[in-house]
Structure formats: structure tokens, C-alpha cells
């Protein structure tokens, strides 16, 4: 009781100098090891931070370009080029000359490899146009109104080793070498070509507002595998001069640009003009489709490029909407060249400026002044090389280092209007099977999901953990506390994968079936417990003497079980009365609240369960650590236990309790397995308790294995990790600062 202890006789041993020397060494060694341990921990954390930054940085580096002037024009290159293409390895190029030859040549030394006359006898080419993507299909329109289809293809010969691999070009006529007469009499000014598995579509525009649209349905013979075409041609005559023509990849829409800055949006089903959109005050100088064939890019004489695509409105009616405008150039846009694997494109203006854009990010990636107005220009399939032929100066090859054009602050955090969406939205949808897919890298829904999960988990965990801690530390009998505390702490050792598994496979279906029961349990249990406690205080002294002070929680256990049972079993009539028999159905059908089986409530409970031990344990220690003298002092003044707890103990323990909450929050934010398994991982932005979410951490876990190393996707996942890291860092630092201030204010004796 009193702190004075009887001191036993003290033995004073005389130690040798060696002993002191040895002890000093041990002291120094121990302090060094401990110091080193601390240093290693800090170094490891910094190393993680630096590695994350190292992986993320390239996302924000600007693109670079290096130029090489190729050997001066050999004689064969002098003839005018109508079409130019570059193969993937950037070793061999393909062109169609104005006089109707298809030529393959090696970039290195501009050596002519193969030259073929498309039509024997030689005829002059009016327009040549490649198909969307990197199929190598090219349509060539001649001055007499005939059109040929051909394909430049490449195979690689590795027989001399990987380093000396040889590109073998091949000219092919996949749809026959015959010509189709699309515009008898000639006068073709524009050409559009699109090819997919079902049909091949050719559209030509001619002088005097003539449009011919040829659709060839592909029929494959089952036995021979031969493809036969079933051709139909429709014609449209408009009252303006057509300066540009393109078709969408689904072949439903035809776009015509005119001289007064308008785009005519035409349905190919009946060749009717649906809409005319004014995109510019000046003439449309160039038009092309973005990869995927959904967006139209139209350049005007002022140097503006406008992106448009059809948006589905009410009644399934499509209308062409201006999505965004790129203002990177000063003079008229002479060419728009889409990239073949990404949603980027490049333009050339009348002042010889080359500009690379990215549509989703809505930004200018790079601007470069060319040596003159290019006669022809070809972008390699990976958009990493550019071949430019000039009329009079030597050809140039440009190496483009542009790995991550799709990343900008806006594309990561702001609303973006993606293709096929009816408006700007926050979307995370990182990959799909096809190159033509527009990746959607908005981190906002993920950050939102993280906060949502953490919030619901804290809502569930905080009251239970903190009140439990206060009771256990202050009111509970020591004997009971010795059992309860370790039991709760063992909960922290439960692998979260098991919690997630139980939550996803047992609790989620259970909740769906007993939604009303579980919700009513959340009301009935606290109310029932308070009621029971009130009756207990009114109970006869003899009854209360049966249970010692501090052991009352044991009494509550059967009460809890009964209350739980009652909530689950007897909620039926209430449901019948208010919710037409089933709350779950009522929610989705009557209240219009959508309900996912794996929702925020499941996560809140499961993750709350996971963070309760952490919060409870630290908070309990903090409350238990308040010196007994303080509570004795307060009690001796006649304060009740409750008053002492609220006015003395909790304020004094508040720094520790605050830490507990923050550490719990940090854990809830970073928790991966539970949210991964207990939600549908749909990156939606909705506070609805009955819908799921996708958190930053779960997203990393789901997508990291499938992302290509060093791709934008990969680096953005690292960025998500960095965001998570910074978030925890900021929360913990803030928490520590607040804790220090609280500690100063309520420091104990």
C-alpha cells in the first residue's frame, strides 16, 4: 500500500578494472547496434519512397525528339510521293508515287528494294489513303476514278541472328488486284478506307460534291476459307465542295468537311445528313480519325484542331459533340496523323511546325520546327519514329521519345470526357484487349474509394474500440481485464485474408438475406444494452451482489445473444409493414438505391473488425496509463466514476487515444486484402452504403500483375502507391503533431 520498501542489506562487490572496461564496451556496442537499427528503418522507408519516385518520375518528363538527316535524295526518290508508311522496326519504308508505283526502300541509305507498278502501264494517282490502325491496307485512287486496294506487309528473317535480323517486305492484294470504278470520269479529291472482320468500306469524295460509299460484306466459305465480297454502293450528292472525308470504324457514320468550317455528320445506313456542326470560322484544312475510329479530328486554317465524336442522347439519337479543342499551332493545319497504337496524334501546320498531341490528356506533348513543308510523312506503328520527305531538302528521320503522353494532372485527377461517354466523368478503366481502347486513368475514384472504405470502417470501429477501451481500462475488474485484453489483441493477429474471405463469402450473402435484421441489430443492441443497464441499477442490492463490480460485462453476453436473435427473427413483420416484405428489394425497387452484395457495409464491418484491436489496444494502454493518483484525487473530491472518467481520465489519455485513432485510420487506408475480397472492386464514386468501391491499395493488388513493366499503366500504379504513401505520411505526421500538442496540454504528473 505504501510505497516505502524495506531495503535489504546491500552487498557492495568490488569489481576489477577489466570488468568496467568490458561493461563500457558492451554499453557502447549496444548503443551502436540500437542506433544502427533505427537508421536502417529510416533508410528502408526512404528507400521505398525514393524507389516509388524513381518509377513515377518518367510519367512527368516531357517528350524528346532527336533528328537525323538521311543521305541526300537518290534519283529514284525525286518523284512525288502520294503515300508513305513505315514498318515497325523502322528499317523499311513503303511509298506510293504519284505515277502509280508501289516502292519499298531501306531507310539506311535510302536504298530502293522493290518497285511495282500497281496498274501496268502507269497511271497518275489522285489520292492514296491508309486504313485505320496498322493493318497496312492502302487504298489508291487514280485520276480516272478507279481505286486499287493493296497491303504493305513485312516479315522478319532471323536466320542471321537477332542483331542482324532482316525485314522482308511484301506487297499484297488481299481483295484482288482488280480495280473498282468508284467515280467514273475521275475527279476524286478525298478517300476514306476502313476494314474490319465483317466488312470493308471505301468512301470517296469528288469534285462537285459527289460522294460514293462502297460497302463490301465479307462472306467466308466454310470449306475453303475463301472470302468473297458482296458489294453495295450508295451515292450522295451535296451542294458544297468536299475538302475532307472520313468514316467511323463501325461504318455507321460518314463525316464530310467543307470550305466554311462545317462538319457534316452523315448516317451511312441511308446516306442522310443528321447534323451539321460548325467547328471553325475558317475552312477545314485537314480531317482524320483518331485511333479507334470514334473521334474525328478536324484542323482549320487558324491552326486549331477540334475533337468531336457522336454522343448518344435520349431516344437513341446520336449527335456529334465537340469534345475538346487543341490550340497548339498558329498557321493552317496541313496534316493530321493519328498514332496507330495510342490516342495521340500529330499535326503539321503551314509554318512547318510539327506538334504532337494526346487527346485524352488534352495536352501538347511536343512541338518541333521542321526543315520545310513535308511532301510526305510516316509515323512508325509504335509512334517512336517519324520519317519525313521534303520536296527539295534531304529526308529526315526523327526518333521520338514519348512514352507517357496520356498522363497529365487533368487526366489523373479531373473529369475527362472519354470516347463513347455522354459527358466528362471520373473513370478508372486501365486496360482492355484492344489497342484501340482509350485507357482511363483517373485516380480520383480510387482515392474516393479508399476514403469511403476507411470512413465506414472507422464509423464501425471507433465507437466500439474507444468505448471498449475506456470500459476495460477503467471499470472492468482486473481479473476480467487480464482475459479480455489479450483476447482482443489476438484478433489483430487474424490474417486479413481470412477476414476478407469471411466477409465476402459468408457475411455478404448473410447481410443480403438479413439486411433489415442486421440494421435493426445496430439499433436494438445499443438500446437494449442501455435498457438492461438501467434495470440493473434499479435491481435489488441482493441481486446486484451476485455479480462483483467490474464483472457486469459477463452478464451482458446472454443479453447480446438474445437481442441479436430477436433482431434477426422478429424483424419480419416490421419489414412487411414498412418495406413491402423485404428491405433489400424495397431499396432497389422503391427507394431507387442500388444494392451490391459486396458493399461498403460489408467492408465497413470487416475492416472495422480488423482495426478494432489496434485502436482498442493503444487506447486502452493510454487510459490505463493515466496515473492512479489523478483518479484517486478526483474520486476523493466526490466525483463519480463517470465524472472522473470524462473529466480527468479521458482528457489526460487523449493524446494516446488520438494516436490510436490515427493508427487505426492509417491501417484502414492501407488495408488491401479485406477490401479486395469484400467489395466488387468497381471504381465508382458514390457514398451509398450499399455499393462497393475500389481502393488505391486493392487496385494496385489487382492490376500490378497484369501491367506491362514500365508502361504508363505500371507507372501510374506506382503513382497510386506513392499517393497512398504520402497520404499515410501526412496523416501520421499531422497526428503526431496534434498528439504532441495534446500531450503538452494534458500532460500527466
Amino acid at each position: 500500500m505504501n510505497s516505502a520498501h524495506k531495503a535489504g542489506p546491500v552487498k557492495i562487490a568490488v569489481r576489477s578494472d577489466n570488468f568496467h572496461l568490458w561493461r563500457g564496451r558492451k554499453d557502447r556496442l549496444a548503443s551502436k547496434i540500437i542506433g544502427l537499427g533505427g537508421f536502417v528503418v529510416i533508410a528502408a522507408v526512404l528507400l521505398i519512397l525514393f524507389y516509388l519516385i524513381y518509377v513515377v518520375t518518367p510519367l512527368f518528363l516531357s517528350a524528346k525528339m532527336s533528328r537525323t538527316v538521311l543521305t541526300d535524295n537518290p534519283a529514284w526518290l525525286k518523284s512525288e510521293t502520294s503515300f508513305l508508311a513505315l514498318e515497325e522496326q523502322q528499317q523499311v519504308a513503303f511509298r506510293i508515287t504519284e505515277n502509280g508505283s508501289a516502292e519499298f526502300f531501306r531507310l539506311n541509305g535510302l536504298e530502293l528494294l522493290e518497285s511495282t507498278e500497281i496498274v501496268s502501264g502507269g497511271r497518275n494517282v489522285a489520292v492514296a489513303m491508309g486504313a485505320q490502325g496498322d493493318s497496312g491496307l492502302v487504298a489508291v485512287a487514280f485520276e480516272d476514278g478507279m481505286v486499287s486496294l493493296l497491303q504493305n506487309q513485312y516479315s522478319t528473317d532471323f536466320s542471321a541472328g537477332v542483331e542482324l535480323r532482316k525485314i522482308i517486305p511484301k506487297l499484297d492484294f488481299p481483295y484482288g488486284s482488280g480495280q473498282r470504278e468508284l467515280m467514273p470520269g475521275g475527279g476524286i479529291t478525298g478517300l476514306a478506307l476502313s476494314d474490319n472482320e465483317k466488312e470493308l468500306v471505301l468512301a470517296v469524295a469528288g469534285t462537285g460534291g459527289r460522294v460514293r460509299f462502297e460497302r463490301s460484306l465479307k462472306r467466308e466459305d466454310f470449306l475453303s476459307g475463301e472470302v468473297s465480297l458482296e458489294i453495295s454502293v450508295s451515292a450522295l450528292d451535296v451542294a458544297f465542295e468536299i475538302v475532307a472525308i472520313t468514316i467511323s470504324n463501325d461504318h455507321r457514320w460518314l463525316y464530310l468537311g467543307d470550305e466554311s468550317g462545317r462538319i457534316h455528320f452523315i448516317s451511312t445506313a441511308n446516306m442522310e445528313v443528321i447534323q451539321v456542326v460548325q467547328v471553325s470560322d475558317t475552312i477545314i484544312t485537314s480531317m482524320n480519325m483518331l485511333l479507334g475510329g470514334i473521334s474525328v479530328l478536324a484542323g482549320d486554317a487558324d491552326g486549331n484542331v477540334t475533337q468531336l465524336f457522336p454522343v448518344r442522347g435520349g431516344g437513341n439519337q446520336y449527335s456529334l459533340k465537340e469534345i475538346r479543342r487543341f490550340e497548339g499551332q498558329q498557321a493552317a493545319v496541313t496534316r493530321i496523323v493519328p498514332e496507330q497504337r495510342r490516342k495521340g496524334f500529330m499535326t503539321v501546320d503551314a509554318d512547318d511546325n510539327l506538334t504532337i498531341f494526346h487527346s485524352t490528356a488534352g495536352k501538347v506533348v511536343l512541338t518541333e520546327k521542321l526543315s520545310g513543308q513535308p511532301a510526305a510523312l510516316a509515323l512508325a506503328p509504335r509512334a517512336s519514329g517519324l520519317l519525313v520527305l521534303y520536296g527539295d531538302s534531304p529526308a529526315e528521320f526523327m526518333d521520338i521519345d514519348n512514352e507517357h503522353p496520356e498522363v497529365s494532372f487533368a487526366s489523373l485527377w479531373s473529369k475527362v470526357w472519354y470516347e463513347n461517354y455522354s459527358g466528362p466523368e471520373y473513370v478508372w478503366q486501365s486496360s482492355a484487349s484492344s489497342n484501340e481502347f482509350e485507357p482511363k486513368f483517373s485516380l480520383t475514384p480510387l482515392a474516393f474509394g479508399t476514403l469511403k472504405a476507411a470512413l465506414y470502417a472507422m464509423l464501425f470501429a471507433l465507437p466500439l474500440a474507444l468505448m471498449g477501451a475506456a470500459y476495460t481500462a477503467y471499470f472492468m475488474s482486473p481479473a476480467l481485464r487480464r482475459m479480455v485484453k489479450p483476447a482482443i489483441e489476438i484478433m489483430a493477429a487474424l490474417p486479413t485474408v481470412i477476414l476478407g474471405f469471411l466477409a465476402g463469402l459468408w457475411f455478404a450473402p448473410f447481410l443480403e438475406e438479413n439486411l433489415a435484421g442486421v440494421l435493426s441489430m445496430m439499433l436494438v443492441m445499443p438500446a437494449g444494452l442501455l435498457l438492461f443497464a438501467w434495470f440493473w441499477t434499479r435491481a435489488a442490492q441482493s441481486a446486484r451482489n451476485l455479480v462483483k463490480e467490474g464483472w457486469e460485462p459477463v452478464l451482458l453476453l446472454p443479453v447480446l445473444v438474445v437481442l441479436g436473435f430477436v433482431s434477426l427473427e422478429f424483424v419480419g413483420p416490421l419489414q412487411d409493414m414498412f418495406f413491402k416484405g423485404d428491405l433489400r428489394t424495397w431499396l432497389s425497387h422503391e427507394a431507387g438505391i442500388s444494392y451490391d452484395q459486396r458493399n461498403a457495409m460489408v467492408v465497413g464491418c470487416a475492416m472495422g473488425f480488423a482495426v478494432i484491436p489496434t485502436i482498442f489496444s493503444i487506447a486502452e494502454d493510454a487510459i490505463y496509463g493515466v496515473p492512479k493518483s489523478l483518479s484517486d484525487g478526483s474520486l476523493a473530491l466526490g466525483a463519480t466514476s463517470w465524472q472522473t472518467l470524462v473529466r480527468v481520465i479521458l482528457p489526460t489519455a487523449s493524446p494516446g487515444m488520438f494516436s490510436a485513432v490515427m493508427i487505426g485510420l492509417g491501417r484502414a487506408v492501407g488495408e488491401t486484402m479485406i477490401v479486395l475480397m469484400a467489395t466488387g472492386n468497381t471504381p465508382i464514386m458514390d457514398w451509398n452504403l450499399f455499393e462497393g468501391m475500389r481502393t488505391l491499395a486493392a487496385n494496385i493488388a489487382v492490376e500490378m500483375p497484369e501491367s506491362a513493366m514500365n508502361s504508363s499503366h505500371y507507372r501510374i500504379l506506382f503513382l497510386a502507391a506513392l499517393v497512398l504513401f504520402m497520404f499515410t505520411f501526412v496523416v501520421n505526421t499531422g497526428a503526431e503533431l496534434i498528439r504532441q500538442r495534446l500531450r503538452e496540454k494534458y500532460s500527466s504528473l
Binding site: 500500500m1 505504501n2 510505497s3 516505502a4 520498501h5 524495506k6 475488474s477 482486473p478 481479473a479 442490492q541 462483483k548 463490480e549 467490474g550 464483472w551 496515473p627 493518483s629 489523478l630 484517486d632 484525487g633 478526483s634 474520486l635 476523493a636 473530491l637 466526490g638 466525483a639 463519480t640 466514476s641 465524472q643 473529466r647 480527468v648 482528457p651 489526460t652 494534458y746 500532460s747 500527466s748 504528473l749
Partner: protein, 264 residues
């Protein structure tokens, strides 16, 4: 200093009286059949070696011990003529009646003013006006001779005071609750000699207004600062007489041995 009770008029009715008070901590019995009668208005000191049950007795009178579930009590304790274990007695009323000062000064980590008003606020629900509160603070601090020292820093944290001042503050904060008995558990053991002297002077000042029961290890203090003295050993009361008598002519051999420092 030994024959003080002659110089003051004392109401001799009893402040604390116990009959057959036994107390167990689990299986360990700490108090054996304590029968004590402590007179109102006197300063009574309790001496005895460590572990003899002095503090336990004090904590029993204040009913602080009961918070621990392994404590078991039998017998009766009357404070101001009322059985504190009676079924119709509120524990809080007992604690209001009986203030307690602990070995280590334990002011709450809030301002001096709030410390003084803590007990008062709890019992009145904090409905008193500012003027009245100021009066309470001033009168309490004046009674413990602390007013002049702290009147300009009432909003400072109580823990910034010196230990002696803290202990006086702990006494002062009992006074607004208007207790009749003050229990002091070695109130000077954490103080230096000057502080001890100041607190003893204060006790003497409070004598008559309150019944003071003080546990001490310091026999000189018991001799200087009390009128009656109780000697306890192994949970039993050995001797209870006037202080002067106890130190001059102890009746029991154990008392003599303890006073002369043979053990304890």
C-alpha cells in the same frame, strides 16, 4: 507542543468510529478488528511501520478501496455518526463528507482555478455564477495560505506549482465541497523540510474547523503536529492515546520499540 488539548475547547463527539472493521485484499487480511474512535476537531496522527494498514484504513473511511473487486470489508464505520456502509448512504455523500489528500500531490493537469472548482462544479452541476466561483477560489486558497502566492496566476496549470504548493492546492480543493473530515496519507513525504513545515503550519491552522486524520512515517511530525496518536502494527491498533502520552509513556512494548526505532 505535547499538551495542546488543554489549550483548546474541543467538541469531543466522534468524527470517525469503527467497530470490528476487517478488510481483506483477496486472501490477505490487511485490517483486524479495528475499533477506533476519532474525536471531532482534533488532529489525529497514525503511525506504524510500512504495511501495517494505516493507508488501508484511510482509504476505507473514504470508500476508495471498494473500487477494486478483490477487496472485502466487514464491520462498521461511522463518519459523523452515520454508517458509511449503510444501504441508504450514497458513496458520493461519504466522499463529500470525507476529503482525502494523498502522498504525492495530485493536482489535475488543468488550471489552479479549475482544480479548486472541480469538486464544487461536480456537486453543483457548475451552475454557480462567476462572482461566487471567484469567492470560492479565493476563500479556499486563503484558508491554505496560498492566495497571495497564486492569485495572479490562477489560470496557470496546477502542475507548474512547486510540490509544497501543489499539496496545499490539493488540500484547498477539498474545502469548497465542505467536508468535515480530512484524511491525509503522508502528505509531506514528497516535500522538503521547508514545505513540510509550511504544510504542518497549515494543519494547525485548520484544526478545529475540520477533523484531521494524518498518516505519517515521521514520528517527529506526529509529535509536533497532532493531538492524538494511533499506533498500528500488522493490521491491528496497538495504542491510541494523546500524542504527548504516547511518546512519553507508551503503554505497550511494541509502541516503545517502534518509537525508539527498533523496527519500521
Amino acid at each position: 507542543m505535547t499538551t495542546r488539548e488543554n489549550s483548546t475547547a474541543i467538541d469531543t463527539s466522534l468524527a470517525i468510529s469503527t467497530r470490528k472493521l476487517n478488510l481483506w485484499y483477496g486472501t490477505f487480511q490487511a485490517l483486524f478488528d479495528i475499533d477506533l474512535n476519532i474525536k471531532q476537531g482534533l488532529i489525529t496522527s497514525m503511525i506504524g511501520p510500512s504495511g501495517c494498514g494505516k493507508s488501508t484504513f484511510l482509504r476505507t473511511v473514504n470508500r476508495i478501496n471498494e473500487r477494486m473487486d478483490y477487496v472485502r470489508i466487514s464491520g462498521e464505520v461511522d463518519v459523523m455518526g452515520e454508517n458509511i456502509f449503510g444501504s441508504d448512504v450514497e458513496m458520493l455523500q461519504v466522499r463529500k463528507q470525507v476529503g482525502m489528500v494523498f502522498q504525492r500531490p495530485n493536482p489535475l493537469p488543468i488550471s489552479i482555478r479549475k482544480n479548486i472548482l472541480f469538486g464544487h462544479t461536480i456537486h453543483t452541476g457548475g451552475k454557480t455564477g462567476k462572482a461566487e466561483q471567484d469567492e470560492i477560489v479565493e476563500s479556499a486558497l486563503k484558508q491554505v495560505l496560498l492566495w497571495d502566492k497564486v492569485k495572479d496566476k490562477l489560470d496557470h496549470k496546477a502542475t507548474t506549482l512547486s510540490l509544497e504548493e501543489q499539496q496545499k492546492l490539493c488540500i484547498a480543493r477539498l474545502l469548497p465541497v465542505k467536508p468535515s473530515v480530512l484524511l491525509m496519507d503522508e502528505p509531506c513525504s514528497a516535500l522538503d523540510p521547508k514545505g513540510t513545515e509550511a504544510v504542518e503550519e497549515l494543519l494547525w491552522e485548520l484544526r478545529g474547523k475540520y477533523t484531521i486524520l494524518i498518516v505519517t512515517h515521521n514520528m517527529a511530525q506526529a509529535r509536533r503536529a497532532s493531538e492524538e496518536c494511533i499506533f498500528m502494527l500488522m493490521g491491528k491498533v496497538i495504542e491510541h492515546t494523546e500524542t504527548g502520552e504516547m511518546f512519553l509513556t507508551p503503554k505497550h512494548k511494541e509502541t516503545t520499540d517502534y518509537i525508539e526505532g527498533r523496527y519500521g
